[in-house]
Every structure is written in structure tokens, then in C-alpha cells.
């Protein structure tokens, strides 16, 4: 599996280089595309060229790869004028990004090989089990709101990972779990996730599809719907984990007034204040992403976390060094970092 992925990516890069090369031959003729003043026709001629590379078939692609390999070798010689293969002014960004990529990939690899990494205690996550326990004692349901964004938001996807774990816990305690959903395309995802959680816990019969409730795509109609659930069914634990917007304060307030234990988590910074003041626990920004690694123990998530921790150490070092150098009037380092 891993090797197919690498091959695919490699193939993609080669294809791009090939396209690039085929185009070079054409683009050089009428002059660089950036020539000022050439508005309509120049733009048309440039954008027309890729179609040639699309239709010219695999032979051209192959030869393109070969030739572009040559030209890649030539990049060391200082390119004159417009045609260059690397922008030296952007070296600072290239280096920072490359270092970070390496850190992430190395740790993902290690985690994939079975290395286990420590993750600090995250109080909000430990509280989830406690909240579910209390709901069970009181004989009341647990409410899980996965945000109001669609599946293209990574927070919604990560929310599903957490939902899977919550479903497992809930199934074990045999407590109902209500999941209101704001986007039609999230419904099948939530259904599968919860069903799988119940299955993993050994209670597939306890899964109730009626508890995954699509309320509305409209933000405030959805909010009013969730409010209704809180007031009628009185869940004892409210979990808000995902991408939230203006509705956060309405949800948190209603939940607070019903006396439920509330745990929230989002990377939408602007909504955090409302969760912080009205919820018992709040996962702030990156903590939300750490939550998925914490709960799922998935290698790629744990490795990523470790990689960005190392990057933070490097950045902290750079910040301290930079500040000290500035204090003594040495500005070379700071100037090198200026984005151009």
C-alpha cells in the first residue's frame, strides 16, 4: 500500500515536470508570459499550450521526463534573466517547510513502525468518560454536535474520529447518543461512525439510526433544532466538537441553562471565548487536533503531533536567538527571514 502511494506521488511529480518541459519550448518562443502589456492574446496563447501536452500521449511525456532531467541538472548554473528553476529569494520558506516536512514524515514513519509516543494528559478528553458516566447514572442521553461545517473541513472529519470513540464508550454504558447533523453529506459519515463504534463495543443491537438526526443545512434553523433537543430530551452531557461559528454561544448557553456537563473543542478561535465561559472543559485550537491522536492512537496522527512539537522547539529557539540578536543590533538573521 505504502509503495503504491509513493509511486503515485512520484508519477505525479514526473508528469508535472514533463508538462513543464513541453511548455518551456513553447513559452520561450513568444517571450515570457509575464511580459507587461500583453493582455488578451498573450494570455490565450500561453493557456492554450497545455492542451498540446495533454493530447500528445505518453511518448511525449516520457521524452519530456528525460529531457527535463537534463535541464534539472543545469539548474546549478546561474540562470540568466527570466528563466529560472528556483527563486533564491524564497529559500528561507523552502528551508523552513522542508525541515518541517522531514520532521513530520520521520515521526509518522516511526509511529507506523510501532514506536509509541507520549501524549500529555488532556483534561477535557478524560472528562468525556466521566460525563458519559454521569449521564448513565441519571438515565439521560448524551448529545454530540459535530460542528456545522461540511465534510471538506478537516475539523468535521476529525470530529468523526472522536465520535467513533465516544460511540464506543456510550455503547459500553448503554446510554443513548444523539447526534444532530447540519450537512446532508455528513449524515452517512456519522451513521457509519456510530454504527462502527457500537459494533466495536460489542453492542451492535443498541445502535439506533433515529438518533443521527439531520436537522437543516441552514445555520440558525439547525441551532434552533439542537436547542429544542436540549430542552425536550434534557441530555446530561453535551459534547460540541468540530467547526462552530456564531451558533456557539446559543448552544453553550442553552446547554448551561439545562445543567448538563459541557465539553467543547474547536479550532475556530473566534468562537472559543463563548465555549470557555459556558462549558466545563474546552479544547483550544491544536488541542482539538491532538484529541484525535490521543483517542485513536493512529500512527499518522500521533507522528504528526510529535513532528510539530519538534518544530515548535526549533521555532522557540529561533525566536529567542532572533530577539537576542536584535537587541544587540545584529539584524542579518531577521532580514534573512523576511518573506519576499
Amino acid at each position: 500500500m505504502r509503495s503504491t502511494k509513493s509511486i503515485l506521488v512520484l508519477a505525479g511529480f514526473l508528469l508535472l515536470l514533463a508538462c513543464g518541459h513541453v511548455l518551456t519550448a513553447r513559452a520561450e518562443d513568444p517571450g515570457p508570459a509575464s511580459a507587461a502589456g500583453a493582455s488578451g492574446p498573450a494570455a490565450a496563447s500561453v493557456s492554450a499550450s497545455p492542451s498540446a501536452s495533454d493530447s500528445s500521449g505518453s511518448a511525449a511525456v516520457l521524452s519530456g521526463v528525460l529531457v527535463s532531467a537534463d535541464s534539472a541538472g543545469a539548474e546549478a548554473t546561474p540562470a540568466e534573466g527570466a528563466v529560472r528553476w528556483f527563486d533564491p529569494k524564497r529559500a528561507n520558506i523552502a528551508i523552513v517547510v522542508a525541515v518541517f516536512f522531514m520532521l513530520v514524515l520521520v515521526f509518522i514513519r516511526q509511529a507506523g513502525k510501532g514506536a509509541s509516543f507520549f501524549i500529555r494528559k488532556i483534561a477535557g478528553l478524560d472528562a468525556i468518560e466521566e460525563a458519559i458516566g454521569r449521564a448513565t447514572e441519571m438515565g439521560k442521553p448524551v448529545l454530540y454536535v459535530p460542528g456545522i461545517d461540511d465534510v471538506n473541513n478537516i475539523q468535521t472529519i476529525y470530529s468523526m474520529v472522536i465520535l467513533g470513540n465516544v460511540a464506543k464508550l456510550v455503547a459500553r454504558y448503554e446510554t443513548p447518543l444523539i447526534v444532530p447533523v447540519c450537512r446532508a453529506f455528513v449524515v452517512p459519515l456519522a451513521e457509519e461512525t456510530v454504527k462502527q463504534g457500537y459494533l466495536d463495543a460489542g453492542h451492535p443491537e443498541a445502535y439506533n439510526p433515529n438518533n443521527i438526526r439531520y436537522l437543516s443545512d441552514e445555520q440558525f434553523a439547525f441551532t434552533a433544532g439542537v436547542d429544542g433537543i436540549m430542552l425536550r430530551e434534557r441530555p446530561a452531557a453535551n459534547l460540541y466538537l468540530g467547526s462552530f461559528f456564531a451558533e456557539s454561544l446559543v448552544l453553550a448557553e442553552t446547554g448551561f441553562s439545562t445543567g448538563a456537563i459541557q465539553i467543547a473543542g474547536t479550532a475556530n478561535i473566534h468562537q472559543l471565548p463563548f465555549f470557555v465561559v459556558a462549558c466545563d472543559y474546552t479544547l483550544i485550537g491544536e488541542e482539538f487536533f491532538a484529541a484525535t491522536a490521543y483517542l485513536s492512537k493512529e500512527a499518522k496522527l500521533v507522528g504528526t503531533l510529535k513532528g510539530s512539537d519538534w518544530m515548535k522547539i526549533l521555532l522557540i529557539a529561533a525566536l529567542v536567538i532572533g530577539a537576542v540578536l536584535e537587541t544587540f543590533g545584529v539584524t542579518a538573521f531577521t532580514r534573512w527571514l523576511i518573506v519576499q
Binding site: 493582455s39 488578451g40 441553562s257
Partner: protein
């Protein structure tokens, strides 16, 4: 606390906003550093040069952002700048059109297609920003009305963002100022002044401090300050009294709520 019908709270809020609108006091508006910088940045643009006006908002935030659009446009047209407007929020183009016509055409007698243009809307957020930096004609082959842009005088000689002297961005969230900074400011070195909702303003302070933003108008008070700078008080200035009283009431609610809470907690055990 749950027993209190929140409709009483709603009623208080309605009165608090209504009364100062009907009987204003006219408290003096003070200009903050962020707004002054934005004003200075616009003032520093060469007279008659072209400015890209990125109107990235829609009716949901119109009361906050439309006054900013009007005030900054007033400033730009008073310098005879040529304004190229475009939107990344689908709800935006008619609002942009309203602002351009109201200020450009009615207040300054400017002509559509010569002194200002509305390029309309394109989906794709960051993709459009990068694409505009590369080629405006390829990204916006026609304006809001479908007129090919080769036929518009204002677009003559405008290939990409190198040909504008600054970007004024009115931003309601995503896509908006953050993305313009990330994708355009550092890539194409254009100066950006941002007028944003109060909700997103705190997130943009780091960009202002780092110089990635030339200035920052946050929310209705930012708009009122800009209105003061251009000397044309509008709806933002008019709303400032209600805004002041509203904030006072919220503070009172926070304090009262906590007094009741702690008092009832003491009684409970």
C-alpha cells in the same frame, strides 16, 4: 437563573439600542492607531492610480462593513483613484455595486467602466486570489454585467496586481483578509489595508503588528473612526451611542449574573 424568562433580557436590549438611535447624545469618536494607519496608507497612494477593492462580504455583515466600504471609497474617489472592485463572497456583488454607484457615481460623478468597475464574483477563495495576482483578465474575463473587460477603459494596461497601487479589503471572514495576507501580500508585495468585522479583528492584530497589513478597521467603531477621518459622518457614527450603551449593558449583565450566581451558591450548601 433558569427561571428568569430571557425575553425580559431581550426587551432590555431592544430599548438600549432604540433609545440612543432616536435621541442621540453624540459622544466624540476617538481615532485609534490601526485606523489612522489605514487612512495614511490610502492617503499615500498616488492620486489617480488604480486600486483593487476586494469586497469580501455579504448582507449578513452589511451593517458593520458597508459603512467601511462607503468611507474608504469616498477617500479613494476624492483622490481620483480608479477603483477595480471584485468579490469572493457570492453575496457580495450587488453590495459592491451599491457602494460604487452611491459614492462614485452619485457623490463624485465618476463613470462606470472608466473610473470604477465591478468585476463581480468568482468562486474559489485562495485560488482566485493567487490567480488575480497572476492575471486579472484570465480570472475575470468579464465584469459583473458580462461585458468583456477588454471593452472597459479602466482595465486597459491592467494585467495583474503589479498594476494596482494597493488593495483595500473589506472582509467578513473566510475568504478575506487572512487569505489576502497569506496568498497575496507576501507573494506579490502589494500593500493591503483591511476593514473587517469586529469578530475577526483580534485575529488580524498580529498581521498589523508585523506590517503585513498597512492598516486595520475593526467593526463599526473602525468604520466610525474612518468616517471621522474623511469628514463624512454616516451610519457608523450614528450607531456609536447605541453601541456604547449596549456595551455598558453587557458589562452590567456579566457582573449581575455573577453576583446572583455566587449569592445563590452560598445559600445552597
Amino acid at each position: 437563573m433558569e427561571k428568569l424568562d430571557r425575553r425580559y433580557i431581550f426587551l432590555v436590549i431592544l430599548l438600549v439600542v432604540l433609545v440612543p438611535l432616536i435621541a442621540p447624545v453624540g459622544l466624540p469618536v476617538r481615532v485609534s492607531r490601526e485606523v489612522q494607519s489605514a487612512y495614511d496608507a490610502v492617503a499615500g497612494v498616488p492620486d489617480g492610480s488604480k486600486v483593487y477593492f476586494a469586497a469580501d462580504y455579504d448582507p449578513s455583515t452589511m451593517p458593520e462593513l458597508h459603512p467601511m466600504a462607503l468611507a474608504t471609497l469616498d477617500h479613494l474617489f476624492s483622490k481620483n483613484c480608479k477603483v477595480i472592485g471584485a468579490c469572493l463572497w457570492p453575496g457580495g456583488p450587488p453590495l459592491l455595486e451599491d457602494a460604487l454607484r452611491r459614492i462614485g457615481e452619485l457623490r463624485f460623478g465618476k463613470k462606470y467602466g472608466v473610473d470604477f468597475v465591478n468585476l463581480g464574483y468568482k468562486p474559489g477563495n485562495e485560488v482566485v486570489m493567487v490567480s488575480v495576482g497572476r492575471s486579472i483578465p484570465a480570472t475575470f474575463p468579464a465584469d459583473f454585467y458580462g461585458t468583456p473587460i477588454e471593452k472597459l477603459e479602466i482595465m486597459k494596461g491592467v494585467e495583474n496586481l503589479d498594476d494596482v497601487s494597493m488593495i483595500v479589503n473589506i472582509s467578513a471572514g473566510y475568504p478575506g483578509t487572512k487569505e489576502w495576507v497569506q496568498q497575496v501580500q507576501s507573494r506579490y508585495h502589494v500593500s493591503i489595508a483591511s476593514g473587517c468585522t469586529a469578530v475577526s479583528a483580534p485575529e488580524y492584530y498580529p498581521y498589523f503588528q508585523s506590517g503585513q497589513l498597512a492598516g486595520l478597521l475593526g467593526g463599526l467603531s473602525g468604520a466610525a473612526e474612518y468616517e471621522k477621518l474623511v469628514g463624512k459622518p454616516g451610519t457608523a457614527t450614528r450607531g456609536m451611542d447605541a453601541q456604547s450603551l449596549g456595551h455598558l449593558v453587557i458589562i452590567a449583565f456579566i457582573i449581575l449574573g455573577n453576583i446572583f450566581y455566587f449569592a445563590s451558591k452560598k445559600k445552597a450548601p
